[in-house]
Symmetry: C2
Subunit: 204 residues, 2 copies
């Protein structure tokens, strides 16, 4: 595209670097910002800049936090003997939203992915092993996505953790609630038959 | 959503203000930026900030430009007696891409829209009338979108311009090249029958 201004082009290019934002969308967003007041654009850029420079990661669980130790890690109401291992902060938010989990978290910061050059040492796996070794942990729940990267990461952590005196669990996989059987993919359906559970447990 | 950090929440909120960006997408974009180096995030915020503060609008056609007068307005190769009136800089880019137009532009900066509180005085319509009055203009092409706002704006400009000694044209509307007849909407199809042209003109 032929931009009438170098400054415009640069801003569009920067927006276009974001995931899922093409050149056309980037141009639309930039022109939107250009129509805003200078004050509002400043608010936008400053929110991003201070997010980047001032955000901390909790020393305990490595979740994004404004403090050294996050609220969940500090809370006396949470069960500190259960650790739920997740990929990133979005998963913490999703699980917190269910109100079904009262333990602690451990945020890996990604999944093992040879394709994207992410190895075990790029993630907080050693930190997890140290936590399990150093504290009284009864259970580690591996709550990762049901993808190849997720499974690889689970397998790697399982091997690291299995010699420690801790129960290792993964979240249940099966057909979604409300999901119609005929539309479920065959892998999920097959696995959910293999992992069938007694009816009494299902309704309790 | 429950964010683990106020800074994160603010950045997500600012991104979520952009058109077409929901909370989930905003969070994804912010987490992407958080994973980038500080240098790259700085490049992003500075490109936006300097775009906002340093971009100029051409004195002649009001298109976005880095200079007082844009390249098109300065070019001796362009026909300064024909003005193509468009909504914004994207339309200039689109028309320039066709290589079919050698005249000048006039960028209105929007369309008349009572719904969004945009009146004629918010646009560069008076400036257009002054250009036509002050310079030797033979033709004004009204190249606006085929929407209600576009039609309203065309009608308003037509009334302002018709007493001046200038030919007023609009770009042709009809079925797209490659468009299959049965999928064309009925308004477009009906209009394209009413606006039919001799075959000899169509192939020339």
């Amino acid at each position: 595209m032929n931009y009438s201004s170098k400054l415009l082009e640069q801003a569009v290019e920067e927006f276009g670097r974001l995931p899922g934002i093409g050149k056309r969308t980037a141009l639309r967003l930039v022109l939107h910002l250009l129509n805003q007041s200078e004050e509002e654009v400043l608010k936008f850029t400053e929110a991003i800049a201070s997010m980047k420079t001032d955000i901390k990661f909790c020393r305990g669980c490595f979740n994004i936090s404004d403090q050294e130790v996050c609220e969940i890690c500090r809370s006396p109401k949470r069960d500190s003997s259960v650790i739920c291992v997740v990929e990133d902060t979005r998963d913490v938010m999703a699980i917190e939203n269910t109100h079904q989990f009262q333990g602690m978290y451990h945020v890996l910061g990604g999944l093992i992915s040879p394709m994207e050059g992410v190895g075990p040492n790029d993630l907080k796996i050693n930190e997890l092993v140290n936590r399990v070794r150093g504290q009284e942990i009864k259970e580690v729940i591996l709550a990762l996505s049901a993808t190849m990267e997720g499974d690889t990461t689970i397998f790697y952590m399982y091997r690291k953790l299995k010699e420690l005196n801790v129960q290792i669990t993964t979240i249940a996989r099966g057909i979604s609630f409300g999901g119609e059987l005929e539309y479920v993919d065959e892998v999920t359906l097959g696995r959910s038959i293999l992992s069938r559970i007694p009816y009494e447990r299902n309704v309790s």
